[in-house]
Symmetry: C2
Subunit: 265 residues, 2 copies
């Protein structure tokens, strides 16, 4: 993107993703949310439940001055939940029982009449200076940590917990670093032309409309049925600017593809 937008990374932690047991829907859900909020997501990384991998990946994001880093997974009560410890290792911070987090954890279990075991207290151990994020539907608090100019937000891997925390808590953190940009998009379907045939037109329109990004996605293979989806996106300084960028490029694409014999819908 030619504008200075806030950059975002998504780090998803868990062996289950790396053995292909789970499809990474958390990453695409977060990517969509962050994009619609005007952030430029430029990396999604999946790493194992391994302390060094976790520490190294967070450190890499901070070294690259990424504005917002959101991670999922590794906050629970089991030995392989290592996100908090990984954050502490990454930034040379002590891992301490956070009193606010402990209160959150205690309340959840006390209500059930359960004891605070070592595995449960583990969920309240956060890096120094971290702020716990309230978990509405589960037990492990999230973690908010500022390192240099990077906001790090760690959420649980269970999708329902992650989503509720994002929509009710993370939103408020992101407002402090609110994107100045608005995202807009549109999708066309072009029938009757192969992707290699429309490629020069897409390039031409992108060269002339420099504030949009256009990407073609063949629905079937190039030589089969010729159905291509064309996705046009833009970020603008206002919603109407972003919308206008997209609609101008769409109009141009429709005209040029129509002349070439494409059926646009």
């Amino acid at each position: 993107m030619y504008m200075k937008m806030y950059s975002a990374w998504i780090i998803t932690i868990g062996n289950e993703l790396l053995i292909g047991k789970i499809i990474n829907t958390n990453a695409s859900w977060l990517a969509r949310r962050l994009t619609l909020l005007g952030y430029n997501v430029n990396r999604i990384v999946v790493i194992p439940d391994n302390l060094n991998d976790i520490a190294e990946t967070f450190r890499e994001a901070v070294n690259k001055n990424i504005d917002i880093v959101i991670s999922t997974g590794g906050l629970g009560p089991t030995f392989d939940d290592k996100t908090s410890e990984g954050l502490a290792l990454a930034f040379n911070k002590k891992l301490v029982i956070n009193e606010d987090a402990l209160k959150m954890v205690r309340e959840k279990y006390v209500r059930k009449g359960w004891k605070l075991t070592e595995s449960r207290i583990k969920m309240a151990k956060l890096p120094e200076n971290a702020i716990p994020i309230k978990n509405h539907t589960g037990t492990a608090p999230g973690i908010f940590l500022k390192v240099n100019d990077t906001y790090i937000i760690s959420l649980p891997g269970v999708p329902v917990e992650m989503k509720v925390m994002f929509d009710f808590e993370v939103i408020n953190i992101l407002k402090k670093r609110a994107s100045k940009y608005y995202y807009s998009e549109a999708e066309l379907t072009c029938k009757g032309l192969p992707e290699s045939g429309i490629a020069p037109i897409v390039k031409d329109v992108m060269d002339r409309f420099r504030n949009v990004y256009i990407k073609s996605h063949p629905r079937c293979s190039e030589l089969g049925q010729l159905i291509i989806t064309i996705h046009v996106t833009s970020f603008g300084k206002s919603r109407s600017e972003a919308d206008k960028n997209v609609s101008k490029a769409v109009a141009e694409l429709k005209e040029l593809l129509g002349k070439l014999g494409g059926k646009i819908s």
Copy 2:
């Protein structure tokens, strides 16, 4: 993992993944296939259609001596398909028209009576010394490139093309670097215990059975319905060794969780 297994990275290229338009099913499909073939997938990275990001990520994998790197996306005819150029940039190689690749591309289009345009010839431009991989259902050949001890295999992003190429072509490349390990897994469902309650048992069994990895996945949140899936995996030097590792740990888990009041199925 305590054994020296072949390591694998999966690199998926495409802005559509980073705006959350597409769920990354290619990554989980490949992760599953590679795991079942005995490889240790330790990173999945999603990067944009950006030349420098592509070059940097492949270079990082080679610098880390990853054995097998499989990428998807960025091989097509449009301007934003930059995988081949990114590979050339990463390893300081010339991008040349590969005669074998050109033959593959030409045959596809000639059969349809279509011309070899610049956009189509682009798909035959590979880094020097790369070997094209036959695309059975689409047009863009894949790329096989050896750099130091790393095997790099680039496949298209269209899932059907990627999958057919993996099962019919990539398999033959992987045989040259065949894993010496076999993967085995089992899944238990435990009802009636919270994840924080079974955590000490999982840790204990993992400590005693060091050739297995055990991970618990709450189906619902900790304080709701208590249903936990427990996934036990192992790599062994023979299929029967891997199976035995898993079945021993499963038996032990069943006994200990049963004693604690869990209902196992």
